[in-house]
């Protein structure tokens, strides 16, 4: 994949993707203040009640401030690593037949969409950095070494999680080649991301039998796993998260290429 990337073309797609997101200020406002801010507020009220009611200082090893920080990370990452827009875009492109125009460009459709997505995500980068800033400045008493490790590690995982999120969304959006209803595809992504990503509950809050799935599924590496690393930064948790991300990126890159080849080969196109 990387061999065919022309940086200039990548830059123009990123720039255009970034500008397209900025054009829609209303969505930007809803995303940042309503979808992110209000969701966090609701989680805060809910967990305050749970902690107060149970009288526990820590539940599953997490104190009230730990859980608040966890949700701050997860909710902001949920917005940053959001495949909804790209699925909506690709599904529409396939469904309307506009994909034919993208296929006759001398630049891979997948890369067109990936850089477009990465560019659009840059707008939300401050939001993804917000929990890190709050964590480092207000919540934790890290040594300089650990603090720097957390910042560098978080940034590395952030970039890789974007690529993984894109690949997951790309693969799911390809269902549109076979499905009549792109709404189903969007719903499928939203459910999987919320349920498996860790936005519902931290992985270790699930029953023992489900913990393995909740911890090591691909969606968790776009949100939950990065949040867990940030809460307790260590070289081991960083390497574990990095390895998971890299393995999934490799697997899903191969899967998406195979699927793409298979589906475009069978593509009959729309009528004239």
């Amino acid at each position: 994949m990387l061999s065919s990337i022309n940086l200039d073309i990548a830059k123009i797609y990123m720039k255009n993707g970034w500008r397209v997101v900025l054009v829609d200020r209303a969505i930007l406002f809803i995303d940042i203040f309503v979808a992110t801010g209000l969701t966090f507020l609701m989680q805060m009220m809910l967990w305050k009640y749970i902690y107060k009611d149970s009288g526990e200082v820590a539940i599953q090893g997490k104190t009230f401030s730990d859980i608040l920080l966890y949700y701050l990370y997860v909710i902001c990452l949920n917005r940053f690593n959001n495949g909804y827009g790209i699925i909506e875009d690709i599904s529409y492109t396939i469904y309307s037949g506009k994909i034919e125009l993208a296929l006759v460009k001398p630049f891979s459709f997948k890369l067109q969409k990936m850089f477009d997505y990465l560019g659009g995500s840059l707008v939300y980068l401050p939001l993804a950095l917000l929990p890190l800033i709050i964590d480092v400045t207000m919540f934790s008493n890290y040594t300089v070494y650990t603090g720097l490790g957390l910042i560098v590690g978080y940034l590395v995982l952030l970039v890789l999680s974007q690529v993984l999120c894109f690949l997951l969304a790309f693969i799911i959006s390809l269902i549109t080649f076979k499905s009549e209803n792109s709404g189903v595809v969007l719903a499928l992504y939203s459910i999987l991301a919320a349920f498996l990503g860790g936005a519902l509950l931290p992985a270790n809050y699930w029953p023992e039998s489900m913990r393995l799935i909740m911890e090591f599924n691909p969606f968790s590496y776009t949100m939950g796993a990065i949040s867990e690393f940030s809460l307790a930064p260590s070289i081991n948790s960083f390497l574990s998260c990095l390895t998971g991300l890299l393995i999934y990126i490799c697997i899903f890159n191969l899967v998406s290429n195979k699927l793409w080849k298979m589906l475009t080969r069978d593509y009959k196109g729309l009528g004239g």
């Binding site: 500008r19 006759v104 009959k268």
Partner: protein, 340 residues
């Protein structure tokens, strides 16, 4: 040298048959039945530099399927296609960099961004040098009067402006083959005129190959020096546009209008009988008080008619050839003995 070559190209689609009953629907899920539809049947085409090929045909005649196979969007079921020495279905970078594709009803421009951003993207995607970019942009902007809208977001452009911008974007990299699929669809007469004028001059100047798929006969008449006529996926005619016209036009249309007042029934009948005396095979198209319109032998002239029609009513007489559209309609409907 052949720029584009199709040999025995056929495209067969497998179309899933939908069950018409509940049982049929359930069966369709577990053991679907397919019907084979021949969309393009054994087509041979060879094009050299400077050719503007018009592909004519009714809906479902295989025009778009042929264009999609030529651009690499679809793979032929059998036969061989070579465009610029490449097999289009492989969609190699070198092939894609040298073609331009415009689908009149689809836009590849960045919808929310100013038009110039789409052009700048094309520059990088196709690796166009700054000089060529400036020169081609200037040329197309001048031809289509786009300068004033370059900084306007694409979503605020009119349909005509968008189509012109789409064509401009596809000309910036000076493609060796340009595919235009119904580029004038939905355009007003002025935009159509500008577009046709530009395509014509561009083919002449750049001596490239243009494949123009259209329903509009005037597009073909104005721009193309060769025509392919498709019907049910088969090539019914391949050659000069003038010869096609001669072959298709089998009659003339005689229109008579009263200058004084609407005609009464007896008058209409008597005039029609007089025409029948000149050409006993004459066929009526319209016999109304306002207009008598009759198909007559194409060898007859206005002089023959003036000499032989005698009556006291002041009539406007007009003898014309049917439009190509009318002739093609006869051909497709297999009427009036029009065949190729």
């Amino acid at each position: 040298m052949n720029i584009l070559k199709c040999k025995n190209v056929t495209k067969v689609y497998k179309v899933k048959q939908a069950g018409d009953s509940f049982k049929g629907l359930i069966e369709g899920i577990f053991s679907p039945k397919y019907e084979q539809v021949i969309s393009v049947n054994n087509i041979d085409i060879e094009l050299t530099n400077g050719t503007c090929l018009g592909v004519l045909g009714t809906n479902g005649s295989g025009k778009s399927t042929l264009t999609k196979m030529l651009t690499g969007l679809l793979e032929p079921t059998s036969g061989d296609i070579q465009v610029l020495g490449h097999k289009p279905a492989k969609r190699s970078r070198d092939f894609l960099k040298n073609i331009g594709v415009v689908f009149g009803h689809k836009s590849s421009l960045w919808w929310d961004l100013p038009l110039i951003e789409s052009f700048k993207s094309q520059k990088l995607i196709y690796g166009i040098s700054q000089n060529d970019f400036d020169m081609n942009l200037e040329k197309t902007c001048e031809a289509f009067d786009l300068k004033k809208i370059l900084n306007r977001p694409v979503k605020y452009l009119s349909l005509g402006e968008r189509v012109k911008a789409e064509i401009s974007a596809n000309l910036l990299h000076s493609p060796k083959v340009l595919f235009l699929d119904e580029p004038t669809v939905g355009l007003d007469v002025v935009s159509k005129f500008e577009l046709r004028k530009f395509i014509k001059s561009w083919v002449k100047q750049s001596s490239t190959v243009v494949v123009l798929t259209t329903h509009d006969m005037v597009d073909v008449e104005e721009c193309c020096n060769r025509v392919v006529l498709l019907e049910n996926g088969s090539n019914m005619y391949d050659g000069d546009f003038k010869q096609l016209k001669d072959k298709l036009i089998k009659y003339k249309i005689l229109d008579l209008k009263s200058n004084d007042r609407p005609l009464v029934k007896d008058e209409i009948e008597s005039i029609f009988l007089e025409i029948k005396k000149i050409d006993e095979l004459a066929q009526s198209i319209d016999l109304t008080p306002e207009l008598i319109s009759v198909k007559i032998d194409k060898s007859l002239s206005l002089k023959n008619i003036f000499e032989k029609i005698e009556h006291s009513i002041d009539l406007d007489i007009n003898l014309r050839l049917p439009t190509l559209e009318e002739s093609l309609r006869d051909f497709y409907l297999n009427e009036n003995g029009v065949s190729l």
